[in-house]
Symmetry: C2
Subunit: 460 residues, 2 copies
């Protein structure tokens, strides 16, 4: 317990906050993600953090993890405060938004959101109760072309390239391949997908025994597993990486074909998505790949599914997942609203990258130039210079406290401010300033008139 | 009640959301405010939305308006979820942050924040239960120079100029002038400030009778009110606007002097702040002015106080207020942390400006160019062009659905997309596209290679 007297001033468990420098970096991430979302024409929306409890519960909310709102001293005569809860994801609020505003929206509706969601999970390392998620979704009115499923991968790849967090790959699959296969084998598709999801978590034996428990014709199952090699063995991977994509596409189609119509349809959709990404959007093939083992647990995906792994950090799990769904808002509106979307768990990924040393915060302040008065008489002129620098687009800040010069340089140093501009009575008389480069300690005399241009050239 | 079947899908009362076009404009406001905060070197911080209830209550939280968190299905064995509540402002979270991170912070600590706060007030027009506030504060360690009080005014003025919401003025006063005056008149300072706050809401008679109820020497009170004319009459205002600032400063100092030492100190601080704003930071005097009638209700202000009025919309009330306080976090830490800060009630101001017609949303999408395939064969090439345009910095979006051309133009029209790029089989063969300016309907044939440059020149 920290703090004095009766107050425990630590953050509530599961509600993270960062140091100023880490927070500046986190906000750069947010700006980068937002800029890529915008570049692809997504409409950024911020909906309320609070929705009606019944709507959240109706759309898959887990009552044990959902936070309801209750006034600390409630007034029993004012019922308008009860029955509301904090959102646990961005999908239900989107479904509600689209249902509410259906007639005013233009479809396909491409929306992005970056903001906090809340889950009352057990507190444990890496699990937060408030965390930022970054979502994009494309919602069709009645229909939505499968080429949209390629677009969201291009967005993800561009984001992670720009965040510079190291090697990553977006795995892409199509659920129809697996559900068609299950049906063909006479296995319940949901149980089959669940097993598929667990494949990497359980032993080969456990996998085998659960497969056998389906009591499908075991000869058929073994033959099916054999066929999986054709779309996952070394040759397949080598072909993909080296650009022999047609060989991969052929293998995927052949695989789908062998399990009937639904699987084939899924295989064709998958190939189309991969082709658009590779040939049209020219996305680097090192950053996306077909992965027919991918199932993704959530019930509502019906076609394309994605997950994103960091190649050197598989322990992070999927850092961005999503997929295609048939109907966004079936319980809120009779309109059929198919969609495709992905979600980045920003807070978690950022905290993971921080603690793995993949990113290092360096700058606690946006300031580019700190203006320091070596003598009191220089302060008025330096205030004017500060205003002039800001007007010319430089982030300039005057140090206003009565402290020793060394303390003022310390301030710049600790905040990562790259340049100090110093003026004493001599400089004031001569119409110059001293510009100190905080990285190498070098100092240069610059005339006040040329200061803005000089700093700009240093900062470029 | 809207929605189908058993679900009421409307937003909970007091939790506003906006149309896509209004939301884009609101986010432009956020970006503008953020950019000005940054320009002055403020460190942008996002702290948790949830804090310990006892800390919020200890620092002025109103239990009747505060939302506590409670899981919908709570587990009595897991106490870690109880005792937390949603923040009701940004000041208490800042006090907690500074107390928690004191040793890692560099002072003066200049932080900005833009984000939601929650108040369980009675629902009524213009009152929200979730709303965004934009705050800046400068926190000193032990001391903080009064020139900081000028800086925050410069920030406010620059923001409202950039938001282009019409004429406004930041009124500046210094509480010490009023508290010194009350003491000199033998009136309880708090009661005096309260009356002062109510001055414009109550009748002249009510004001007079409350003044008399203080049982101060009534002759002295009347003489004091008489003196107020010298710092608020027509001449004073005329002098201020026309740049005869020295006459105003003299009047303020003389006024302060006549009520003893505390008032004089306040008057000197006020003049210093005004002088820096006018002479050093060159802030337009139409946008700030001394207003010695200003008291600001909150107990904790001890020096400079601000409020901002829109000249043509006094019914909006103060759109940005704040002031100087002696100690940010006295209940959380023994460190003395004087500060100065202001807060813009963003959601409220935005909603007011929308409904008063001061701002008009026009663009529901960030897209600058919509790519339309007039024939299916053109789609692959258009996807490539879309990727190229984005790579060159243009927000370009492919229309991917199988719809009539007219529907595709409708999409651009409704979202306010300024240009459509159309390619059919002829254009595909000839290596050109048709660029349609959606504002005037004019169409131009442009070669695919020159498209990016052409669009860029149109957009500039």
């Amino acid at each position: 317990m920290i703090g004095m007297g009766k107050f425990d001033i630590s953050t509530p468990s599961g509600f993270p906050e960062f140091s100023p420098a880490a927070e500046q970096l986190r906000q750069q991430w947010v700006a980068t993600i937002q800029s890529v979302f915008t570049k692809y024409g997504f409409i950024s929306l911020t909906t309320p953090l609070v929705e009606r409890e019944e709507n959240l519960l109706g759309k898959g909310g887990n009552a044990k993890e959902m936070y309801a709102l209750k006034r600390v001293h409630d007034d029993p005569n004012d019922k308008s405060h009860s029955g509301n809860a904090l959102r646990f994801d961005h999908t239900v609020p989107l479904a509600l938004y689209v249902a509410r505003h259906f007639n005013d929206l233009t479809f396909p509706f491409k929306r992005s959101v970056i903001g906090p969601v809340f889950r009352g999970e057990r507190a444990q390392k890496g699990r937060f109760r408030q965390f930022d998620q970054c979502d994009i979704d494309i919602i069709g009115n009645g229909k939505l072309n499968v080429s949209n499923d390629a677009l969201v991968v291009a967005v993800i790849v561009e984001i992670f390239q720009k965040l510079e967090i190291g090697e990553f790959v977006v795995g892409v699959n199509n659920r129809k391949i697996l559900t068609g296969m299950a049906k063909d084998l006479g296995i319940d598709p949901k149980a089959f997908l669940d097993l598929w999801d667990d494949r990497e978590k359980i032993s080969e034996e456990a996998f085998q025994s659960r497969l056998e428990s389906f009591q499908a014709q075991s000869g058929k199952v073994i033959a099916a597993l054999e066929k999986f090699k054709s779309i996952s063995d070394e040759d397949f991977v080598k072909n993909w990486v080296s650009g022999k994509t047609q060989a991969c596409y052929n293998a995927i189609i052949k695989f789908g074909e062998s399990f009937g119509e639904e699987s084939l349809r899924g295989a064709r959709e998958l190939v189309l998505v991969l082709e658009i990404l590779d040939k049209r959007l020219k996305v680097d093939r090192r950053h996306f790949a077909p992965n027919l083992f991918l199932a993704r647990g959530l019930d509502y995906y019906t076609g394309t599914v994605y997950e994103t792994m960091m190649i050197r950090h598989p322990e992070f799990g999927s850092i961005c997942s999503g997929g295609r769904y048939d109907d966004l808002a079936e319980i809120f509106t009779r309109k059929k609203l198919p969609g495709v979307g992905i979600s980045i768990g920003l807070t978690r990924l950022f905290a993971q990258c921080l603690s793995a040393g993949i990113i290092t915060p360096t700058k606690a302040s946006p300031t580019q130039a700190l203006l320091i008065a070596a003598d009191e008489e220089a302060m008025p002129k330096l205030l004017e210079i500060g205003a002039d620098l800001r007007a010319s687009g430089i982030v300039a800040e005057n140090y206003l406290e009565d402290k020793k010069l060394s303390k003022q340089f310390d301030y710049a140093d600790k905040l990562g401010i790259p340049y100090c501009v110093v003026m004493g009575e001599n400089e004031l008389r001569d119409g110059v300033v001293q510009v100190k480069d905080m990285k190498n300690g070098k100092q240069k005399t610059v005339s006040s008139e040329q200061l803005s241009d000089y700093l700009q050239s240093c900062l470029d």
